[in-house]
Symmetry: C2
Subunit: 146 residues, 2 copies
């Protein structure tokens, strides 16, 4: 995605996890490293396979545990996709998401400023974050549609 993408160092990854107040485990490290190195918005299943291809010691339950812990700590973003598995994303720079109607893939769209809702629209809700979801056909699916 980013042509000058530098893989983060071991220390950077470890700090990224610990800064969220999380214990550092090999499984969490593997998940976080994968998400930082492969900005592809993988599913939990894809992460499970990728991580265990390198070093098979993470169970599926632990992948889910790690992902949830990282999401809760604000280190990872989760994107729900209708009728499909959720996608996960290292929370590095702010950006928007494009979801393909056809293949379900999630892609990054460079961030651009969004207006904030007027306070009266929120009532006494507590706003944590807002995100823009774009939908349509990704490049691949556009090109294979006649």
């Amino acid at each position: 995605m980013n042509p000058t993408h530098q893989p983060p160092s071991r220390e950077a990854i470890e700090q990224f996890i610990e800064a969220g107040g999380l214990r550092l485990t090999p499984q969490r490290y593997a998940v976080m490293a994968f998400l930082m190195e492969e900005p592809v918005h993988a599913t939990a299943e894809e992460i499970f396979e990728a991580v265990n291809r390198v070093d098979p010691r993470s169970s599926r339950a632990t992948i889910y545990n790690s992902l949830h812990a990282l999401v809760k700590a604000g280190r990872v973003r989760e994107v729900a996709v209708e009728g499909r598995a959720a996608r996960f994303d290292a929370k590095l720079d702010p950006h928007h998401h494009f979801i393909c109607d056809q293949c379900g893939n999630v892609e990054d769209i460079p961030w651009y400023h969004l207006p904030q809702p007027e306070p009266h629209m929120l009532g006494s809700r507590r706003l944590r974050e807002s995100e823009l979801i774009l939908r349509g056909l990704c490049t691949r699916c556009t090109e294979s549609t006649y």
Copy 2:
């Protein structure tokens, strides 16, 4: 939600379905009528129960079929919520969605204009729609959190 909410007429509901190029069946009618009368962003299961409470002749599979047909025809909007059942929404006026981190409920936020992405951000993707998702705690969950 809307204090001057008028329940739509039978004819209006039928037209709303047929205008999408769909055959009119009692089951689709029941689903659409429920969504138009109860703007609560129900799950498929809730729709199944509500619809069958009135007249028990819709199977779960048919509820899903109807919902998907209506979504595809642009009559209904589907909102995916991480780790929970999807919510459905009659597609009447444009609006944004607020999803509660705690209870998962989806609520409408009055529409306000969003900037469109620059064409170069989309590449050769084909954009169909964009929506803003707001997240945080709904009024109820804000008030019950100490």
